[in-house]
Symmetry: C2
Subunit: 271 residues, 2 copies
């Protein structure tokens, strides 16, 4: 069996992880992808660590049944709380979004003052702080939970006065600290890049955790000789969700930047 | 066994239902209450009808194990989608929030122009429209989904410029229709009453579905001779949640208007 020819599995609590899929498609166009959005239990960002770990294990088990060669945790909250459990419990390589984002933040900053925005659960986990400080403990970190940004994106208010007002409120304390780098620590946030750029101005550079995660996955799979280098045709995406298909399909294209294949609803308790 | 002495069960997807508990306490101070907040799966408002029905059945089963004499569905989304299934499947009286709110809206309006605000799922269900029009089909209804209001309340931004801006955006089309009555079709919204009143002005009267639900429960339990009329001491509240206790406890007091008893975490799959 040619392991490299098998698909890459990607999961998220819902739709946000499709921004990671979009970047994987850009960097690894020949790879087949299996995506699971756990839309019946979305969001993970407001749930407890124990619940997030349990959900992430069930998501991973589902992907493994589809013979994936690697699992990408395309969700900052699940990466923050569940990555170590997943790497210990399962035999395939498991990649999260935190470590690549942390590396990119350190590569980007010049003055050593880094802002981090994410969901409540990700901020509480201190996962970005730990990952950054483990590599360089001289930088200053300023973290802020922004629980309204996911609902604002899901409302479709990417460039709306309410979103701009919420962003100003959330980002003001970070700007006062004169950060020069801002980590977008949630896979929904790439859709707010334009609005965020306008508020933080050209002197603050944004680290997109979806983009840096995809780069990291390419690098690691290459190292593990797991890239599907032989194939010429474009890879496929098979999306699965745990709640209704309709709502997912309508917004998925916006996150993914292309039309989605037929979405299949699954019951994780039954598989 | 004295049925009337048994507790009333109340459930919601999370914390919002505590506004109903608060009103039940005010109207029925001698009743014991058992509350279940399904915080592991909150919110229901963005989930599919099938998922909401399944969750509501599991919540009701849990309450019945605590020997409740009646079940209050203190969640508009669950009332909208699951009430008929619950009343058919279970042997105790089951009360929702929609019918009382619909009745109150008709009692309140003078010009027959009623606005309804709620979550996506409640609006999509058309439950308020159906309940109101079944009683009076001459009124004009204007419904608007306001998916950001729950996250804004949970962020604690009850009287914040961002909340006011979001409310103005959501309410403008309804005000343009010259409504004189506005149904707050979500158990989180009573916490925004002050902010909403300022925007709609004194000529629009608010129907608080938590308040009208509690009045309805009192009326129906009296009719069924299920009120605990013999007791002199104050009733108790036993709160259960399906995710971590800590987060719930900190915000619960704000919804409830009093300190909460020890919250117990339960696993619905295991009971």
């Amino acid at each position: 069996m040619n392991l490299a020819a098998q698909p890459i599995g990607v999961f998220d609590s819902g739709i946000g992880g499709l921004t990671v899929v979009r970047q994987l498609r850009r960097l690894l166009p020949h790879e087949d992808l299996v995506y699971l959005g756990d839309t019946a239990r979305v969001p993970y960002g407001t749930k407890s660590p124990a619940a997030v770990v349990r959900f992430a294990c069930e998501d991973t088990q589902f992907l493994l049944r589809h013979n994936v060669k690697a699992v990408v945790v395309a969700c900052n909250t699940a990466s923050a709380w569940a990555l170590s459990t997943l790497t210990q419990r399962f035999d395939v390589p498991v990649f999260g979004v935190i470590l690549p984002g942390a590396r990119a933040a350190l590569d980007t900053t010049r003055v050593g003052r880094i802002g981090i925005i994410a969901t409540n659960a990700t901020i509480r986990s201190m996962a970005y702080n730990k990952a950054i400080l483990a590599r360089n403990d001289t930088v200053q970190l300023y973290a802020r939970a922004c629980p309204l940004l996911v609902p604002l994106v899901e409302e479709g208010w990417m460039d709306h006065p309410v979103t701009r007002a919420a962003l100003r409120e959330y980002l003001r304390p970070l700007l006062r600290r004169r950060i020069d780098t801002l980590v977008l620590g949630c896979t929904h946030y790439p859709l707010l890049k334009t609005a965020i750029s306008k508020i933080v101005g050209p002197r603050v550079r944004l680290v997109d955790s979806a983009e840096t995660c995809a780069e990291f996955v390419r690098e690691r799979l290459a190292h593990l000789r797991l890239l599907n280098t032989r194939r010429r045709r474009a890879g496929t995406i098979q999306p699965f969700v745990t709640d209704e298909v309709e709502r997912f399909s309508t917004v998925a294209a916006q996150f993914l930047g292309e039309a989605v294949e037929t979405v299949i609803k699954v019951d994780l308790a039954a598989v």
